[in-house]
């Protein structure tokens, strides 16, 4: 966890923005506010927020739609949605999109603060794989297990992420690109970000056997596709 977690509040009601901001600031969080979805997206492009508290009903873009865009840009940002209509289609849509919690207005502030603290305690993972569908399903599985999950699809994207955030565990696909394999990235991460534990994933046991053997003898841990999820989740649990 960072020293000062950064929280974004998106709500079209100025009074609510001010209240959430006052309460969270008083708790020692760094708070930014946005009056609508577009402003929220602009903020997220500039800053690595830990948590976003989104209102559902906002002009221009509702909270569920906003989160769908947020997730594409920055999937490790955990969102909590606030709505006057819990149990509505909008609330369900938000949960389906991956919003962590939906709270009904009037919000029980102690509950909201508890949720925020829970989220901030969740370990931060990065999945590096060029297969976007694989990433999407792994994201969901890991989210459900209580991890915050970032995604990168190539080596440069991954290095950018490592520059921005301190990940607890990185899951790296060995065959990232023909010229720059995941093993290269793996070595770099090991050298530059020793705080991050790394697990390798590969679907090509025979072709890369020599490379894999080399990595393993150097201390790398490898999981083969199709993934034994239980084994991998257990190992992640040990690492964090």
């Amino acid at each position: 966890m960072r020293k000062h977690a950064i929280i974004l509040i998106a709500d079209d009601d100025a009074d609510i923005r001010a209240n959430f901001s006052d309460i969270l600031s008083d708790r020692g969080y760094v708070v930014d506010v946005a009056p609508d979805g577009h402003a929220a997206l602009a903020r997220i492009k500039e800053r690595q927020y830990d948590v976003a508290i989104l209102d559902f009903k906002m002009p221009g873009m509702d909270g569920a739609t906003l989160y769908t865009s947020v997730k594409k840009m920055y999937p490790e940002l955990v969102a909590i949605m606030v709505t006057a209509y819990a149990g509505s289609d909008g609330a369900q849509r938000a949960l389906d999109a991956g919003v962590a919690h939906v709270l009904r207005k009037p919000v029980e502030m102690s509950q909201l603060l508890e949720r925020v603290e829970d989220v901030l305690r969740q370990p931060l993972l990065l999945v590096v794989d060029d297969d976007q569908e694989f990433c999407a399903s792994l994201w969901q599985v890991l989210r459900n297990r209580g991890y915050r999950v970032g995604l990168a699809h190539d080596q440069s994207g991954a290095l950018e992420r490592f520059d921005q955030r301190a990940y607890d565990v990185a899951l790296i696909d060995l065959r990232l690109s023909p010229e720059n394999g995941g093993d290269h990235l793996f070595q770099q991460v090991r050298e530059k970000y020793p705080g991050t534990r790394t697990l390798l994933i590969t679907g090509f046991r025979s072709q890369f056997q020599d490379r894999i053997d080399g990595l393993v003898s150097g201390g790398a841990e490898v999981f083969y596709k199709p993934l034994n999820l239980d084994a991998m989740l257990e190992r992640i649990g040990q690492l964090v």
Partner: protein
């Protein structure tokens, strides 16, 4: 046929023919004398009543009738012979017959009188048990049908009642949903301000004041939402009086915060008569129309308010060149609690329409998606002015 020309041979042949007809008739044919004594029966009589000719001929006809008709028959016959008053003779009617085994059956009896040397009465009897059974069946089926119809009607009535109840519930749900947003948002602000005041570790006096002011303001907002809904539910009758239209429109326009990017023009032709309206209610309508027009033009635009006298009313159009509406939105736009805005309960146009209807006018909308919308209001003229025009 006449008997004068009949030869003995012809007579014998005719007698045989008649006997053949009588003996083969499906109906029972029974002949009695004026005292009621049976003088002849045909074979159908035997089949129908179960007696042999020997058992019946020479006996009183009442043996073929159940009580109490049997007892009354002698009296009927005597009465007829005395008064000539016919109860059955030459008429025919439904009566009850009694078989040898004592069982009874419905029968149709037609009695004719003939004088062939002596006075004789001939009864032609048809067993109508089958007919009666069919009738009874039909009656029962009818009754069943009636029963089913009334059952089905009751079911349909129950279903309709349920539908009405469901519709009421749906309307209630819609209202609850509409209110939820407008009440829970203020409650949310109030509750979070209260939380801050109770829990903040270092709240300055200015912060405390800010939150108390916020609570106060948000209570007013929640109250306004409830007031708007109850006002809509019981809109008062308009108190009409002549009002100069242009003044009314100008004061409404100046009461609304318009951004600089929106230009508003008012065109009321010189000579437009005063409108006969409630001067408190009609501004609500135009305020709603102008706010909607403003909200439909986030990038700015032009609102044109124009009036024209048409027949016995003045038609005022509020046109914008904003976002416009899709046909499905146009269709629902005046429904209470329908809104496309993030803020607002969706009562503005519904209230406006209700007000205009109470003024015996109409509120109409024409809209083109991405081009703009025009709302037209018909306002009545005062009685005096209408007469002047005539």
């Amino acid at each position: 046929m006449t008997e004068t020309a009949a030869s003995p041979a012809d007579l014998a042949q005719r007698t045989a023919q008649l006997e053949g007809v009588i003996n083969n008739a499906v109906d029972a044919i029974i002949t009695i004398d004026p005292r009621g004594i049976v003088v002849a029966i045909n074979p159908s009589t035997e089949r129908m009543f179960g007696y042999s000719p020997m058992e019946v001929i020479g006996q009183n006809i009442k043996m073929l009738m159940p009580a109490p008709y049997a007892e009354e028959h002698d009296g009927y016959l005597a009465n007829y012979l005395r008064s000539g008053q016919r109860k059955i003779i030459g008429i025919g009617r439904e009566v009850t017959g009694k078989r040898k085994d004592g069982s009874t059956f419905p029968m149709h009896l037609a009695v004719s009188e003939a004088s062939v040397g002596e006075r004789l009465f001939t009864g032609i009897v048809r067993d109508i048990s089958d007919l009666k059974r069919a009738e009874a069946n039909l009656a029962r089926m009818n009754e069943e049908l009636e029963q089913r119809v009334s059952e089905r009607t009751a079911q349909l009535e129950a279903a309709q009642e349920m539908l009405v109840r469901k519709e009421k519930l749906a309307a209630l749900g819609q209202i609850a949903g509409g209110i939820a947003h407008e009440i829970r948002n203020p409650l949310n602000a109030i509750k979070t301000s209260a939380y801050y005041l109770l829990n903040a570790s270092n709240a300055s006096a200015a912060k405390v004041r800010e939150h108390l002011t916020r609570i106060d303001r948000q209570v007013t907002l929640a109250d306004n939402a409830v007031t708007a809904l109850s006002d809509f539910a019981r809109l008062p009758e308009p108190e009409r009086k002549p009002v100069p239209l242009e003044d009314l429109l100008r004061s409404v326009v100046s009461s609304i915060g318009m951004p600089d990017e929106i230009e508003v023009s008012i065109d009321v032709p010189v000579g437009t008569p005063e409108v006969f309206v409630d001067e408190n209610q009609i501004p609500i309508v135009f305020r709603n129309l102008l706010r909607n027009a403003r909200d439909a033009m986030p990038e700015g635009g032009r609102i044109v308010i124009s009036a024209a006298k048409v027949d016995d009313h003045v038609r005022v159009a509020v046109a914008d060149n904003g976002e416009g509406m899709t046909p499905d939105v146009v269709q629902r736009v005046m429904e209470p609690l329908f809104t496309t805005k993030a803020r607002g309960m969706g009562l503005g146009l519904a209230i406006s329409r209700a007000i205009i209807q109470k003024h015996d006018g109409r509120l109409e909308v024409a809209s083109e998606y991405r081009r703009g919308s025009t709302f037209s209001v018909e306002l009545p003229l005062g009685d005096g002015q209408q007469r002047e025009q005539l």
